[in-house]
């Protein structure tokens, strides 16, 4: 099954890259853009046929490697 993991910085964790992107957007005239936060998306295929089992596997991957719980949150999407 295909999975997509969205990793974002926890609220309150300083995101200087998000701030720089916001500054650049404003420079381009997008003055209504605010609170920009940068994260990452990891796509992978898990060798499971059951969505719940796939989610459990990916959850374990997030805890052990893909996300750092000190500073990041993650959200798992099982696609098919």
């Amino acid at each position: 099954m295909k999975a997509k993991v969205h990793i974002t910085l926890k609220p309150g964790v300083l995101d200087p890259q998000g701030k720089a992107i916001e500054g650049a957007l404003r420079g381009l005239g997008f003055t209504n853009a605010s609170q920009v936060r940068q994260g990452k998306v990891i796509e992978l295929t898990v060798d499971e046929t059951n969505a719940a089992a796939a989610r459990t596997r990916v959850e374990d991957m997030c805890k052990r490697l893909l996300a750092n719980p000190v500073m990041e949150n993650y959200d798992i999407e099982i696609l098919d």
Binding site: V13, L14, P16, L65, L66, M71
Partner: protein, 223 residues
């Protein structure tokens, strides 16, 4: 005193660390490649600076799961002294041997310059060569050196005297100006500045020599 330096792909301060350790101990350290699963008998393990695995995923995240790190974690938990410098500090946090994380520098820039630090704890096996409140100068060279932990963790670190070094002029946005911390047992030190780069007047200073000599002396005093 026997020492070991762990070498990861894209470590780049491993040789500097080796020279500093040889200067202080009189013996060449054993260089241990990250694929090794066993560690030699050693009195001190150093995780050097660099950009292990190209900083993929997060700085230190891949290295923290290298085969050799299982042995390092085991030794550290058994009380062996371990120092992580710069990328080594990032690896120690990712491996769970030290609390917190190192975020992108608050100013976004890679910072490469001399920093002045205060020694906050001179009782540890790594800092007993200094006196509390003493100023030392070590250079920093990093992009992800902004120390972050929740308030509860920061309060605990300060309350337990586990902040080893603090920046006088914070170069990266680190919480409470923290430059280096100890684990709860006091046998693991992580710091972003590079003591191994100031071991000769030709290199701009000798405070690093004092740092490594202090560790050797502390090891000699150990019963």
């Amino acid at each position: 005193m026997k020492t070991a330096v762990i070498v990861f792909p894209a470590s780049n301060c491993d040789r500097d660390a080796a020279v500093a350790l040889e200067q202080a101990t009189g013996k060449k350290p054993v260089m241990v490649w990250h694929q090794e699963t066993d560690l030699p008998d050693t009195d001190l393990i150093v995780l050097p600076g660099g950009f292990s695995y190209g900083d993929y995923l997060r700085s230190g995240a891949m290295a923290a799961h290298s085969p050799v790190m299982r042995a390092v974690v085991e030794r550290a938990k058994a009380g062996a002294p371990v120092i992580g410098i710069c990328n080594g500090f990032q690896i120690l946090t990712e491996a769970g041997l030290l609390p917190g994380a190192l975020l992108r520098n608050a100013g976004l820039d890679f910072v490469c310059r001399m920093t002045t630090l205060t020694v906050e704890n001179s009782q540890s096996m790594f800092t007993s060569g200094f006196t509390k409140g003493q100023y030392v100068s070590f250079p920093v060279a990093h992009h992800d050196g902004n120390y972050f932990a929740d308030d509860e963790t920061l309060n605990r670190l300060e309350g337990e005297g586990r902040v080893a070094f603090r920046y006088v002029d914070n170069p990266n946005g680190s919480a409470r100006n923290i430059a280096g911390i100890l684990n709860d047992a006091g046998n693991v030190l992580g710091l972003m500045p590079h003591p191994e780069r100031v071991i000769s007047p030709l290199l701009g200073g000798v405070d690093g020599t004092l740092f490594f000599m202090g560790i050797v002396e502390a090891a000699g005093r150990k019963p």
